[in-house]
C-alpha cells in the first residue's frame, strides 16, 4: 500500500515536471546555503581544535589577570615570581611546570629595526623539555638552544625572514642586535608551530633577565597535569594553592588558570554564535522554499479535485488521501534536500580551495560530517511534509460528490 502511494506520488510529480522542478529548486537553494555555511563553520572549529591540541590536552596556563586582550601577561602590572612557580609545581595533579618571560623587544639587523617577542626557556632540564614540547619547536636550520648557551638565540621564521626586500634573511650563525646588544643566531625554527612561535625569539632564562635587567619576574607559567584526565583537577588545585599563597580569596583572584579546553570552549562559543547568525539568515530562504511547496501542493489539490473525488467514491479513506499528498510534499522536500546537500558540500569545498589558493594554507576548511548530511536530508523531508499538511488536509476533507461535480 505504502509502496503504491510512493509510486503514485512520483508519477503525479512527473506529470508536472516543470512545476516540481521549480519547487525543488526553491528547497535545494536554501538547503545548500545552510549546508555550506555549517560545513565551513564546522571545518573552522575542527581546524582551531587541531591547532589547540598542539598545546596538549594536559597543559595548563597561569597568567596575571588583565582587562585587555593580547599575549599573556602583557598590559598588566602583576608579575609572576619563582614563588608562584614553586606553588604550581607542588600543586596536586601537576607533573611539571615552567615559567616564561615574554617581552616585546626591538631587533636590529642590517640597520633595520623591528619588534619581536623575547620568550625565555628555563634552565632546568624538565622545564626545558616541557616548553620545547609545548611550542613544538622544530629547527629548520642550525640547532636548538642549549642550556649553557649565553649570548645566543633561536629565531621564529617571521623574525628571520620577515624583513624588507632589500634586507637578506637571517641565517644561522649570523649576529643580530636585541635591544642594542649583539647576539648570535644559532638556529631558525620551522614555520607551523603555534602562531606565536613564528614571531618569537627564544633565549635562555638567565640571559633574558640580564638583557632586560630584571630578575624573578615572569609573564606566565605552563604546567602539565599528571594525565589528560586530571587536567581539570590540576587546574582547581593550582588555583586553590595560588589563592592561598597570594593571600586572595576567589573573587579577588589576580591571576587566571586556563586549560587548552577552556580556550577551545571560548573559541567554539564565538564561532558557534557567528555560524548561528549566518545559518539563521540563510534558513529564511528555507521558509520561503517551504511556502513554495505549500503553493505547489495547493495547486495540485485543486487540479486533481476530480481524481480525489473518484478515489474517495471507490472507497479511499481520508487518511489514505492525506498520506498520498503528504508523501508527494515530503518527496519534493527530500529531493530538494538531496540536491542541496550535494551542492552545499561542493560549495564549501570550493570555498576551501579558493581560500587556500588566495591566502595560502588557511584554517578555512570544509567539513561535512555524516550528521550534517543526514540532518539536512531529514530537514528537507520535514520541511516538505510540514508545508504539505494544510493542502493535504484540504484534499482529505473533500466531499466526493462536490469534488466530482466540479
Amino acid at each position: 500500500m505504502l509502496a503504491d502511494s510512493f509510486a503514485y506520488a512520483l508519477k503525479s510529480l512527473r506529470q508536472r515536471k516543470l512545476r516540481s522542478w521549480l519547487t525543488v529548486i526553491g528547497i535545494f537553494i536554501g538547503i545548500s546555503a545552510v549546508v555550506a555555511l555549517i560545513s565551513l563553520g564546522q571545518g573552522l572549529q575542527d581546524a582551531v581544535a587541531l591547532q589547540l591540541s598542539g598545546l596538549g590536552a594536559d597543559r595548563i596556563t597561569v597568567q596575571p589577570r588583565s582587562a585587555g586582550f593580547g599575549p599573556p601577561g602583557l598590559g598588566s602590572d602583576i608579575n609572576i615570581t619563582d614563588e608562584d612557580l614553586e606553588v604550581v609545581r607542588r600543586a596536586r595533579y601537576v607533573k611539571v611546570a615552567a615559567a616564561r618571560v615574554l617581552q616585546p623587544v626591538t631587533v636590529g639587523h642590517n640597520n633595520e629595526e623591528q619588534s619581536a617577542f623575547l620568550t625565555s626557556v628555563p634552565e632546568d632540564t624538565e622545564g626545558r623539555a616541557l616548553i620545547f614540547e609545548t611550542i613544538q619547536a622544530k629547527i629548520a636550520e642550525g640547532r636548538q638552544l642549549r642550556p649553557n648557551d649565553r649570548g645566543k638565540v633561536v629565531l621564529g621564521i617571521n623574525i628571520a625572514e620577515d624583513w624588507k626586500e632589500s634586507t637578506p634573511d637571517i641565517r644561522a650563525g649570523q649576529r643580530i642586535l636585541i635591544e642594542d646588544e649583539s647576539f648570535e643566531v644559532v638556529g631558525v625554527m620551522q614555520k607551523g608551530g603555534l602562531p606565536a612561535t613564528d614571531e618569537a625569539i627564544i633565549i635562555n632564562e638567565q640571559n633574558a633577565f640580564d638583557l632586560l635587567n630584571i630578575s624573578n619576574q615572569y609573564q606566565f607559567i605552563v604546567a602539565k597535569a599528571t594525565s589528560p584526565e586530571n587536567v581539570d583537577l590540576a587546574k582547581e588545585a593550582i588555583a586553590k594553592d595560588l589563592r592561598k599563597s597570594r593571600d586572595v580569596d576567589e573573587r579577588e583572584e589576580d591571576f587566571t588558570v586556563e586549560t587548552s579546553n577552556d580556550i577551545l570552549e571560548t573559541v567554539n562559543t564565538i564561532l558557534g554564535a557567528v555560524t548561528a547568525v549566518l545559518v539563521g539568515i540563510a534558513a529564511i530562504s528555507l521558509i520561503v522554499g517551504g511556502i513554495g511547496i505549500m503553493n505547489t501542493m495547493y495547486t495540485s489539490v485543486v487540479e486533481r479535485r476530480k481524481e480525489i473525488g473518484i478515489m474517495k467514491s471507490i472507497g479511499a479513506t481520508n487518511g489514505q488521501v492525506l498520506t498520498l499528498f503528504l508523501i508527494e510534499a515530503g518527496m519534493l522536500g527530500l529531493v530538494g534536500g538531496l540536491i542541496g546537500v550535494a551542492l552545499g558540500a561542493g560549495l564549501s569545498r570550493l570555498v576551501e580551495i579558493v581560500a587556500a589558493q588566495q591566502l595560502g594554507p588557511s584554517i578555512l576548511q570544509a567539513s561535512t560530517p555524516l550528521w550534517l548530511v543526514l540532518g539536512a536530508l531529514t530537514f528537507g523531508f520535514v520541511v516538505g511534509v510540514l508545508s504539505g499538511i494544510l493542502p493535504a488536509r484540504q484534499a482529505a476533507r473533500m466531499q466526493p460528490v462536490e469534488a466530482l461535480s466540479k
Binding site: 529548486i25 586582550f69 598590559g75 619588534s115 549566518l278 530562504s285 520561503v288 513554495g292 503553493n295
Partner: protein, 405 residues
C-alpha cells in the same frame, strides 16, 4: 487595455496562491530591508560619533601596541618630550596626552581588573581638548578640576546593580591598586564594557600609582582653524621623526586623523553588511522562483483564455504584457509588505539594543533610496521571474490553446 486592472482581477481569482507567492517575496524583502537599514544605521551612528570628536584632531600612537590598550610594555613609547614636539609643530593649536593601563579596582569586596585612563586635568586648556574627543557626558557629580589629586571619574557600569553588588555615586570611595580615591563624577554609558567600567583619573596620579615615568599612550593634537589636518599630520610626523632621530621607514609611531580611523571602521562594516545581506538575498531568489512557478501554473490554467484572446486578435506582445503585469504586481505587493515589516523589525532591534546594551549606536536608518530601491527591486524580481512564463504564454499557438482541456 488596462493591464494592471486585469492583472489585479486575475490575482484575486486565485487568492490563496497569490497570497502564498507574495509571502515568499515579502519574507526576502523584509530580511534584506531590515539588514540594510540596521547596517546603514550603524554606519550613521559611528559617523556621528566621529563628527562629535571633530575632524580637526590628530591622534598619535606608538606602533606595535602589542598589548592593545595596555601601552606600557612598548619598547619605544611616546613620552612627554614627544608631546612637546607635537605641541610646538607649526599649525598645531594645542595638544594633550593620555595614558591607559590595566588596574585593580576594588568596590565593596569585589576585585576586578579594568582599564584606567590618565588624562591631563591640571591644565584647563588640555582638559578642554581632552573633553572634546572624550565626549561622554557626566551624569552625576562634576568634572575633574585642576587641583584634583585623588578624584576619579567612573564609567556608567558602576551605577548598575547587575554589574556591581555595591554601586557608586558621586562622593563615594573606590580603591584602585590599593589606593583610595573619591568618585568626583559618573560618566554616561558608552556601550562597551571596557569603557563603561574604566576609571579615569588625573594623568600624574595614574603615573604615580603605577610608577610610569614620562611615557604616554596617545597624543591628541588639534590643528589651527583653517588648517588641513592631513597636511599638519604629515608635518607632525616629520617633526617627530626628526626628534626621535628616525628614518621614514623606521617610523615607530602612527599619526592618524579621525577620517583614517573612520575609514578602517567602515571597511569592516561594509564587509559584514555585504555578507549578511548577500545571504539574505538567497531567500529573495527563492521567492522569485516561487513567482515563476505561480506564473507558469497560471499560464497553464489559462491556456484556453489565451487561445481566445489570440483568436480575437491579441498580439503576442499584449499577452506577454498581461502576464508580466501580473508577476510585477506579485513582486510589488510582496515588496510593500516586506518593506513595512522589515523597517518595523529594524526599529524593534534598535529599541531592544537601546534597552539591553545601553547603546544608541545600533539605529534603524530609513532612507528614501532604501524605500524606493526595495520597491523597485521587488517589481524587478517579479518581472524577471515572470518573463519566461509570460513568453511561454505569448508564444502559444492559438488553435492548440483553444483545443486544450
Amino acid at each position: 487595455m488596462n493591464f494592471l486592472a486585469l492583472a489585479y482581477r486575475n490575482l484575486l481569482n486565485r487568492k490563496q496562491r497569490a497570497g502564498l507567492t507574495i509571502i515568499g517575496i515579502f519574507i526576502g524583502i523584509m530580511a534584506v530591508v531590515a539588514l540594510i537599514s540596521l547596517g546603514q544605521g550603524l554606519e550613521q551612528g559611528i559617523n556621528e560619533q566621529f563628527e562629535e570628536i571633530g575632524s580637526d584632531k590628530l591622534f598619535i600612537q606608538a606602533r606595535g601596541q602589542f598589548a592593545g590598550v595596555g601601552g606600557g610594555d612598548l619598547t619605544n613609547p611616546l613620552t612627554d618630550d614627544d608631546v612637546e614636539v607635537v605641541r610646538s609643530t607649526q599649525g598645531v593649536r594645542r595638544a594633550t596626552s593620555m595614558n591607559a593601563r590595566t588596574v585593580e579596582v576594588e568596590t565593596g569586596d569585589q576585585v576586578n581588573f579594568y582599564f584606567s585612563y590618565g588624562i591631563v586635568s591640571n591644565d584647563p586648556e588640555q582638559y578642554e581638548l581632552t573633553r572634546e574627543f572624550f565626549t561622554v557626558d557626566i551624569i552625576d557629580g562634576r568634572e575633574l578640576r585642576p587641583n584634583d589629586r585623588n578624584a576619579v571619574l567612573v564609567g556608567y557600569d558602576y551605577t548598575r546593580e547587575d554589574v556591581f553588588e555595591e554601586t557608586l555615586r558621586a562622593g563615594d570611595r573606590i580603591t584602585v591598586n590599593g589606593q583610595r580615591f573619591q568618585v568626583a563624577g559618573v560618566l554616561d554609558a558608552v556601550g562597551n564594557a571596557a569603557d563603561d567600567r574604566a576609571v579615569t583619573m588625573p594623568q600624574d596620579t595614574l603615573r604615580d600609582l603605577l610608577g610610569i615615568e614620562d611615557s604616554v599612550y596617545m597624543i591628541v593634537a588639534q590643528v589651527q582653524p583653517g588648517e588641513d589636518p592631513a597636511i599638519i599630520g604629515e608635518r607632525v610626523e616629520r617633526e617627530l621623526l626628526n626628534f626621535r632621530d628616525l628614518d621614514e621607514d623606521e617610523r615607530d609611531f602612527q599619526v592618524s586623523t579621525p577620517e583614517d580611523l573612520l575609514a578602517s571602521f567602515s571597511i569592516i562594516l561594509v564587509i559584514v553588511q555585504v555578507v549578511l545581506t548577500g545571504i539574505a538575498f538567497i531567500s529573495l531568489f527563492v521567492g522569485g522562483i516561487g513567482i515563476m512557478n505561480t506564473m507558469y501554473t497560471s499560464v497553464l490554467e489559462r491556456t484556453k483564455e489565451i487561445g481566445i484572446m489570440k483568436a480575437i486578435g491579441a498580439k503576442p506582445k499584449t499577452i506577454q504584457n498581461i502576464f508580466l503585469a501580473e508577476s510585477a504586481m506579485l513582486g510589488l505587493v510582496g515588496g510593500i509588505l516586506g518593506l513595512l515589516i522589515g523597517l518595523g523589525i529594524s526599529k524593534g532591534v534598535e529599541l531592544a539594543a537601546a534597552a539591553a546594551l545601553n547603546t544608541e549606536l545600533l539605529q534603524a536608518y530609513i532612507s528614501w533610496w532604501l524605500i524606493i530601491g526595495a520597491l523597485l527591486f521587488s517589481v524587478l524580481v517579479g518581472m524577471l521571474s515572470g518573463y519566461f512564463p509570460a513568453r511561454a504564454a505569448a508564444q502559444q499557438d492559438a488553435v492548440e490553446s483553444l483545443r486544450y482541456e
